[in-house]
Symmetry: C2
Subunit: 477 residues, 2 copies
């Protein structure tokens, strides 16, 4: 069980070793301490030590060799990473919907090979489980198909989500959860609860296009905070912003931020909570990616550190469990009445049968095994993508190396304009998300995001190489 003592222990041990490997202190091919040695050194049981090593194995950081022990796995070729961003200091009204809609329309064309949409491919899932859960729900809860009254979600699903949040370290009562139409509605409700049109909202830089779209729709101003592509939000920059600007909320994806994949360390999350609490600024925390990280420590929410109740948790299961279910949630905290009212008045609620189906899915054994398989298959895909980037993209291309998920953020050398690159790519039937989508400013016009979750095949590999070739040609032209 997550949250149990042992679990925390093996997670902490795994984290220490993972850091040693990622930093290069332990190098490829090197032998790890034995199970017995690890257990002794950390004062834990043998099974806890085994769990720690298996966690690293899942994360593709170590390999088990029969009767020899665990060894550091060969690392993918090292690529330079993007540096911390330096967005403008003033808040901006977001005007990116025309671009986002253009890219989305291209994505929708089945003839296009797309790296633009952050959805996992059907080849990563077995839809039998899902289908059976829906059929069972229709069979048992068919009468709910006649229930037209607005609602905040059926109780079994709100309970299942409360249990799910325990895995992320957050304790939330089922009564404190409102079921939504995916994460985007969850974030919209959360932001509406704590802001008025015209208010300033601090965001990461770069920031997920969908979140910026919400700011645009709500007439909110985006204040982009300098963000490190691996460590996340700069806390000192945020502190300065909170001191000098009328920030009304922080909207943030602390685990596997989109597009960079940054994960904030837990100590930084604690500092973040103190900082926001000092300034009385609420946090809207998007946890949609948390199940795709490798360790329990990375998975843990900022919300779990926040005893003051200043955090609204938003998430869904579209990235990890049921892409087509379109169900999300917001843990509403002290804004419950307000958000419940807005949800009832705005959209009337979700389809109850689907809510029952998701509750059923979340209660199934084998969910952990599903997440692990998913992470492993995605991890292999990401390694291959990084190899292709190293081989085909212009020298000097910087790329992130996230601890999970299927998004890569690239910074092209020589200020190659990625909107122009997109036009060239689209002419050859290839789409990606240009950097301009991820900011209200023009700071990322030479960047792009590649989503490699979709079905993986030769055509996609060739298309990736082709984007690289086009970028190389543009850079040298």
């Amino acid at each position: 069980m997550p949250g149990s003592r042992d679990d925390t222990l093996f997670g902490r041990i795994a984290d220490g070793l993972a850091q040693a490997i990622r930093s290069g202190a332990l190098t490829s091919g090197e032998r790890l301490p034995s199970v017995r040695e690890l257990a002794r050194r950390h004062g834990v049981s043998l099974s806890t030590a085994v769990q720690a090593l298996r966690t690293l194995e899942d994360a593709r950081l170590v390999q088990a060799r029969p009767r020899s022990g665990y060894f550091v796995a060969p690392r993918p070729r090292a690529l330079p990473r993007p540096a911390e961003s330096s967005p403008p200091r003033e808040s901006l009204l977001v005007e990116r919907s025309t671009l986002a809609q253009f890219v989305l329309a291209k994505e929708a064309d089945p003839a296009v090979t797309s790296f633009g949409l952050a959805y996992p491919g059907a080849d990563l899932f077995d839809h039998t489980l899902l289908r059976k859960a829906v059929m069972r729900a229709a069979q048992r809860q068919g009468a709910s198909l006649l229930h037209g009254a607005p609602g905040i979600g059926v109780e079994p699903l709100r309970r299942a989500i409360a249990r799910h949040l325990l895995r992320l370290g957050s304790t939330v009562a089922p009564e404190g959860i409102v079921i939504t139409h995916g994460t985007l509605e969850a974030v919209t409700l959360a932001l509406r609860a704590v802001t008025q049109p015209g208010d300033v909202v601090a965001v990461e830089s770069p920031s997920y296009a969908g979140l910026l779209h919400i700011l645009e729709q709500l007439g909110l101003r985006a204040l982009e905070i300098p963000t490190c592509p691996s460590e996340g939000l700069s806390l000192s920059a945020l502190e300065l912003a909170l001191r000098t600007q009328p920030v009304k909320a922080l909207l943030c994806v602390p685990t596997l931020s989109n597009p960079t994949g940054a994960c904030m360390a837990q100590t930084r999350r604690q500092r973040l909570v103190r900082l926001l609490s000092t300034h009385g600024v609420p946090l809207v925390e998007d946890v949609v990616w948390n199940d795709l990280t490798e360790t329990d420590a990375q998975r843990r929410t900022v919300h779990s550190h926040d005893a003051g109740g200043g955090t609204l948790l938003c998430g869904s299961f579209t990235k990890t469990l049921a892409p087509g279910l379109r169900l999300g949630f917001v843990a509403t905290g002290r804004w419950h009445a307000r958000i419940q009212g807005m949800k009832l008045a705005t959209s009337g609620g979700q389809t109850a049968v689907m809510e029952y189906a998701l509750a059923d899915l979340l209660a199934q054994r084998g969910l952990e095994a599903h997440y692990r398989r998913l992470r492993q298959r995605i991890g292999a895909r990401m390694d291959e993508t990084r190899e292709l980037i190293a081989r085909h993209f212009p020298a000097g291309t910087r790329v992130t190396d996230p601890a999970g998920g299927y998004l890569l953020w690239l910074e092209l050398p020589g200020q190659v304009d990625t909107l122009a690159l997109l036009r060239h790519s689209l002419a050859e039937g290839i789409c990606f998300a240009p950097g301009a989508m991820f900011s209200a400013s023009d700071r990322f016009d030479h960047c792009l995001r590649l989503a490699v979750g979709a079905n993986w095949d030769t055509r996609r590999r060739a298309a990736l190489a082709r984007i690289g070739a086009l970028a190389t040609r543009m850079g040298s032209g």
Copy 2:
């Protein structure tokens, strides 16, 4: 088939007779012309004449007596009707969400007997059909549960809705339809396509609270147009408004308007189209109630008269077919690209399995029979409610007599404050929708809407009588 020559003929004959009955030209117990006589008089076939009489029978306006022919049915007790409204002449920002959320929260309490929500009761449906359609869709289209990419709706559903709109006289291509999260999202997208925040939108007065809530959310100003509770929008008042104010769109429910149940005559719909076209003002037409009217003529959309393409059609099946499915649509006309883009960027689309299930339902034979049964059972409930109002509400209470649906709009005498009445009622566990919810002004503070679609039983009858008693006490206090 709707639209066929015969169909139009029998509908027209039925309409003429219905008008004669409703106006009192034909009185209760009077014998109608025989089938043969009707056929001769209108120059139609015998079967067309029979269809016309059966239509009137469905509408509870005539009764068949074996071997004697058709007779005008006994009419429910006549009650005075509310007069045309006289809203303020200036446009107003809507600020009603606090009230709407208060009422919605009360509705959600299962201990409360509610006349507030405009949803049909489960006792009006057989959920077996629905359940089977969902199970079939999950079985056959289970793979779609993994399809995470944003979409405007699966093609079979868009095709089924195009066919459905043919029944309402509207010809729309499946490619011109976007599937939405119920009617509210459809109207939201339609209004966003044709307005900017701060713009003026003309609406009926009174107007459905959910529509006003959308205006409030989008920062639009409501210009309420004088409206007759039986004939609908005053066209002369609308014309004046179009001439003198910067109206950017008309938002209207021409068939069974909510809350009054008004139905615009088809000739007035034609005039409306000309008027809007002259001023270049688009119409957002909500057709959610059209299947609950008695005649094809009433069912026909304004859109069907609009050759100029100035109408956006919005609807859903929550009132008539599948209250819990939460699927709606907007026929986007020349705004398709814009609305498609907004839909993809905002909410990512609906659950495909449910879309397949609804497409399946809409293709089933027996749908017409379902609608007819629904209308008959609702009609009986409405008659009984009007009887209870005549018996228990204060003398001088005015009440609408709509040609279908399950909403009644009441005007209490002596300026009884219906918010105060609601407080008294809630103290006894009874809820209704106070008039203030249906306007941005204070013109309807002595009005209320009763929705009598929900499961009908002794408790509900007693609760209705109790509201009347409380109103009587307040009026004489």
